[in-house]
Amino acid sequence: MFGGIDPALLIAALMVASVPIILAAIGELIVERAGVLNLGVEGMMIMGAVCGFIMAVQTGSAVMGFVGGALGGAALSLIFALLTQVLLANQVASGLALTLFGLGLSSLIGQNFVGIRPPATGAVPLGPLADIPFFGRVLFSHDWVVYFSIAVVAVTWWVLKATRMGLILRAVGESHDAAHALGYKVRKIRVLAIMFGGAMAGMGGAYVSLVRVPQWTDGITAGAGWIALAIVVFASWRPWRALVGAYLFGGITVLQLNLQAAGARIPVEYLSMSPYLITILVLVIMSSGKGKAALNAPASLGQNFHASR
């Protein structure tokens, strides 16, 4: 039935394939929980991809590459923060502009790095664990970023649920006016959230150019940022659901590649478009369900805050 597809390899591959989406989605989830809609995820991811790639090649260290990716994404997100939080520009338009700007800028910066191989990011040596049949291959033979991405989900969940910081973040996204009246610094909190979102998206992008592909070409993230945006809605702004969503989408991506390799008699184009089709489908279903999912959306999402004093 599987036609040459090994389930252990498939699951292991989908965990790897989902990493960029998880990181970007968790970042965006925090941004949206703070009440900001940043549609520039794709742009921040690709800036992270190019900055991380260059940093890794120049320093010869893959870890420095991920740091560089996070810095690149965060730097680009600062432009968005300046536009929307200080100059009070429209968030949707600014986010779209950010994506276009990021795509162009990354192409310019990356011109001299096409065709180079970055330093490798190896699997974490987990010793005997990796030798367990099936599970060893599925769970214990990944690089550190895979484990890091799951840890980020867990920490985000815990921070949102159990800490004062998380409570304040949710409060700012829920009603910025009330939060301001209580003396919380709405703008500062939102800028920090935007930067976190940028850093996470940047790391996700770096994972694409350093591990998934691994090389630099223009437009390397290929719409992963948009999928991450869709997953945040799919997850109704909850971290663990975002992880599930990312694995679902990662799974579809990997499956279509495997099906292609296994010679399934479906045209390649249909398989390649399937993750995006499913994204659209999920968004339609989620938003049609009598507003059930929408009920959980942060109430101030997408609204600019201006302290009228």
Binding site: R164, L167, E174, A178, A179, A181, L182, G183, N296, P298
Partner: protein, 508 residues
Amino acid sequence: MTRPELLRVAGVTKAYPGVVANSDVSFAISEGEIHALLGENGAGKSTLVKMIYGLVKPDSGTMTLRGAAYTPAEPHAARASGVAMVFQHFSLFEALNVAENVALGMENPPPMKELASRIKAVSEEYGLPLDPARMVGDLSAGERQRVEIIRCLLQDPKLLIMDEPTSVLTPQEVDILFRTLRQLSAEGTAILYISHKLEEIRTLCDEATILRRGKVVATCTPRERSAREMAELMVGATLTPPERAGTAKGAVALEVVDLSVASPIQFGTSLKNVSFRVAKGEVLGIAGVAGNGQDELLLALSGEVRAARDTVRIDGTGVGDTGPNARRALGLVAAPEERLGHAAAPDMSLVENALLSGALRKGLTKNGFIDWAATEAFAAGIVKDFDVRTPGTHVAARALSGGNLQKFVVGRELSQTPSIIVINQPTWGVDAAAAASIRQAILDHAAGGAAVVVISQDLDELLEIADSFAALNEGRLTTPRPVQGLTVDEIGLMMGGAHGMEVAHHGH
């Protein structure tokens, strides 16, 4: 008995571009004193308390708290010094639960479990029962206010600032609140109480400072003054109550039969079997605590929410399934409560806003083109007739103060020669003189034969202008009763959920 002084405000001035909100304001408040801050909208009360709470910095002047200089840079600092504030427009988060909301207003909240038990303990001690695990979005206005008060009480404040706390409460809830405040005062907590409801201030407060246009115009002991004297100090003019001509009632103009609609508003209240009829020349007053279906009733009457054809009838014709324009054509105009974003488009000019609702009845469009000259004349007429203070009709609706915009949107509807008028909160946030003129305009239209439905949370207002009275409670409307002979207790019971029979029981 002389109590030690707690807070002294001396010569405080705060100016914004174009307005001086506070000019050389001075007053003092002792420990355990209930001090009223009295004034019309725009008199500078809110700015003054925002300075005390650290949200706004004064341009000049000094404040001293227990003899030490007091300059809170932000609300955190104010709370740390023992100053707490209950806001006029609740500073609550609907999608968070009670305990989380309380924690957000505290400096060093204990862990959630401990906080929940403390909320329970304090709320019972002060007679304000509250379940810490409930979502604030599901609470009534009175319960929401309890959340705010308890948030303050948990921090043992020395000074509690209350900004118009009773505007959303039933008379019974007001009694409970006053009992709580007196208990706090007896324990030594000073209370700065902002309101323009004079009778309340007379029953509750020890001292009053009266502000007019940013200046202190008088201080007095409210118990020794009549409400009328204080009102005239507040307004700076002599007030005339609205006159009503005892007109005979005509045929039924608006009839609502067994109207049930689901609320289109998140956390809203659905209407359940609402029935009433209003005759030509009659004013029906509908009371109720905010969030009991007032907005939904207005939407259902204006045509923004549709129902079955025969649930709403204008002059006997079923219009329940038609939209606002069809109802306007039959003479029904509606003015919703929310001024910005519902009654008026914030970023459009007054002329454009006049067009939006007046186009049909005033014939402001011809063959799909706008007759700008006529529209401007219409807008200018509203500004003149209703004394809207604005630099001109070209300014954006957003730029007007709340009271002035209210005069404009009410005036816009009343200027369309309507035969049925539906208004939610006609004088909300409007100063006393303008409120009187709006009420007079409503009464004049009724005398001219219009059927009027006034939805309001201001009982005094309803009793002043309405012929018959009903109350909304969780989406149900009580049977309308003539205003004459109604007692405040009966009204409170109608608002509090006792329907028909129960009212009779309690009445005897």
